[in-house]
């Protein structure tokens, strides 16, 4: 039994073919078909592979003339017939200026794809706080959360980002963030509540990056390891070592930054470089700090104790 492509090929460039193309994509749009059927429609009707790409929205779909989904990494050729659909591009993998039917296929498929992109993937993750809240809510029904994932344009794997007053959920690389942020581990869509919980813990370990609160502004939950357990101990300010840190910090504005950099650097020399201090100046400062703290921060055990104290102090500052 012959199929639609043959039927269209037989019609070729006459008005009937153009009408058929219009009706086909109108029908897909009306039935709220997704991007795959639209790209497949272009491929089948044009009888050559078609692809839709949108780097901004992380969309890439390629379908062969037989209707089989088959992405190919090789870059599209300049000479291929193409049409733009907002930030997306639809291409027929065929060289040359499009004939009337091909032009119609490109135009209608691009327009249909654009409608879907605007509907389903139109907004960046940050612009849809309600969906982001929903997707990290373990008590919400699974299908509702999956739907929110599609609204946010998420891939199968995504992660949560905790900002001081905002939830973000996204797939792909971590974007530039405005200040303190905790990054949750990558997870399947339905496991994002756990990613969110971990991101919130990570956020508590994130510092302002000031003299008052030195440290990294962005913390990945996956890199915390057992440190994350500290977030579960009650009032961190009660720890004597945290009190000692506060006591020491009152002595000099450089105190906390110096101690943090020392604890975080591979050697005193590296710490001095990072702090733009002469090595001997740093030695003097640390000696002073050790007197105030009451322990040696240069030997391994004391260094760990300092790291823990700094971490507990940060947790206390960011409840």
């Amino acid at each position: 039994m012959k199929d639609l492509a043959v039927r269209l090929a037989a019609l070729d460039a006459d008005a009937g073919a153009a009408l058929r193309v219009i009706a086909y994509f109108d029908s897909l749009v009306e039935a709220r078909a997704g991007l795959q059927p639209i790209v497949r429609g272009a491929a089948v009707l044009a009888d050559c592979a078609a692809r839709l790409t949108d780097d901004e929205r992380r969309v890439r779909i390629r379908v062969t003339a037989a209707g089989v989904s088959a992405w190919q990494d090789e870059a599209p050729r300049q000479e291929w017939m193409s049409a733009t659909a907002g930030s997306a591009t639809l291409r027929l993998e065929r060289v040359g200026p499009p004939g009337p039917v091909e032009a119609m296929i490109l135009e209608r498929a691009a327009s249909a794809a654009r409608a879907v992109l605007d509907r389903a993937r139109g907004r960046a993750a940050t612009a849809d706080p309600a969906s982001a809240e929903l997707i990290v809510d373990a008590s919400a029904p699974a299908d509702v959360r999956l739907q929110a994932g599609r609204r946010l344009g998420l891939a199968d794997s995504a992660y949560a980002i905790a900002l001081p007053a905002e939830i973000r959920v996204l797939s792909g690389p971590v974007p530039d963030l405005p200040g303190r942020a905790g990054i949750g581990p990558a997870a399947a869509i339905l496991d994002l509540p756990a990613s969110w919980a971990a991101a919130r813990v990570a956020l508590r370990f994130a510092a302002e990056g000031t003299d008052e609160d030195p440290g990294p502004q962005v913390v990945h939950a996956a890199e915390l390891g057992s440190l994350a357990l500290l977030a579960e101990v009650g009032d961190q300010s009660a720890a004597p070592d945290v009190k000692a840190l506060e006591h020491a910090s009152a002595a000099a504005p450089w105190m906390l930054t110096t101690l943090h950099t020392t604890a975080a650097s591979i050697s005193l020399r590296a710490a001095a470089t990072a702090l733009r201090l002469h090595h001997s100046t740093l030695q003097d400062r640390i000696t002073h700090a050790e007197q105030l703290l009451g322990w040696n921060v240069r030997e391994p055990r004391g260094r760990l104790r300092l790291q823990l104290a700094l971490a507990l102090r940060r947790l206390h500052r960011h409840p």
């Binding site: 039994m1 012959k2 199929d3 639609l4 492509a5 043959v6 039927r7 269209l8 037989a10 058929r20 009706a23 086909y24 994509f25 029908s27 897909l28 039935a31 709220r32 078909a33 795959q36 059927p37 497949r40 429609g41 491929a43 089948v44 003339a65 037989a66 209707g67 089989v68």
Partner: protein
């Protein structure tokens, strides 16, 4: 009982629905018996027409042969289209095929390309029977032709070059109904042992009164009116009455035990949905083996007419997976 509420049909799958208008243009409405000759004429001249010998040989992968074999009990000879793989290694199997066409149209090349796809993958001899059509030949002529061809095919396994234990029967639509009837006859009359029966959107029930047949009236492909035309051509005034043989209308069989492993698929948006689901259910209830696929939003014969659609690809793949289970022994 008459339902006073209007029945809401399930929506077509978006891709299939978009392709449907082009399909319907090629597919004339089968409204009454007097249109049958014109429909046969129309179909042979358009894109729905039969594949040629060249198409069937697939660049020499198959030999194409027509064999005249005796009909049942003095009936006229029947013609079998026999396609034998030329390059297959290892033991061959065989698929015996009964074509579709509502009992009233089509020939034994219709649907054969799908059989060849399987033949290439599994190493099968394809035998497709040219049974006489209704209304010129009413029941039991068509099924008897099919059965005579099956018996000949089973008796000539050695000559055809396949292992007798790897014989399956397959057909779509009316061919699916004939296939189901063949399995019943083979069971009842000590006929060939079958390794499986593949019933593709089969036409099983002359009563034509299920919810799905009423839901889809006037919609999609092969609606209740067309179905009525087909069954009436085969059965005449007996259609829907108390005296219809299960070999004409397999849904009439009260005992569905002792059948070979069965595959049934059907679209949710077609006349045959409910009778096909019921057939699978009754095979299980009789302690049999059946695999049932209901493809959401599929119209009758969707995978053949819109092979590129995602749903069609899945439907074809499901058949191949079942064939692996039945034939990979």
């Amino acid at each position: 009982m008459t339902l006073s509420v209007e029945l809401t049909p399930p929506p077509f799958d978006p891709e299939l629905g978009a392709a449907l208008p082009a399909i319907l243009e090629m597919m004339p409405a089968v409204l009454s018996a007097d249109l049958i000759p014109a429909i046969r004429e129309g179909i042979s001249s358009n894109a729905l027409g039969s594949p040629t010998d060249d198409d069937l040989s697939r660049d020499g992968k198959f030999t194409v042969e027509q064999r005249q074999v005796p009909g049942l009990d003095g009936d006229p000879d029947i013609s079998l289209l026999i396609l034998t793989p030329t390059t297959a290694t290892g033991a061959l199997g065989c698929v015996y095929h009964t074509h579709g066409g509502g009992m009233i149209i089509g020939d034994n090349r219709l649907g054969v390309p799908d059989m060849l796809d399987w033949a290439e993958e599994f190493g099968l001899v394809v035998v497709s029977v040219e049974y006489r059509l209704a209304p010129e030949t009413p029941h039991p002529g068509p099924i008897n032709d099919c059965y005579a061809g099956l018996a000949w095919t089973a008796e000539h396994a050695a000559e055809l070059g396949y292992e007798p234990g790897r014989l399956i029967v397959a057909g779509a639509s009316a061919g699916g109904g004939l296939t189901a009837a063949l399995a019943l006859m083979a069971r009842d009359q000590g006929g060939p042992a079958l390794a499986g029966q593949m019933l593709i959107c089969p036409m099983l029930d002359d009563r034509n009164d299920t919810i799905s047949s009423r839901q889809m009236a006037g919609l999609g492909v092969w609606d209740a009116a067309a179905n009525n035309t087909g069954w009436t051509a085969l059965l005449g005034a007996a259609r829907g009455g108390p005296d219809v043989s299960p070999y004409a209308s397999p849904a009439r069989e009260t005992d569905l035990s002792g059948l070979p492993p069965t595959f049934i698929d059907v679209g949710s948006a077609e006349t045959f949905r409910d009778e096909d689901v019921a057939y699978a259910t009754r095979i299980w209830q009789a302690g049999g083996r059946a695999e049932l696929h209901v493809w959401p939003g599929g119209f009758h014969g969707f995978d053949g007419m819109v092979p590129q659609a995602a749903l069609s690809q899945e439907a074809k793949a499901a058949r191949v997976r079942w064939l692996h289970r039945v034939l990979d022994i």
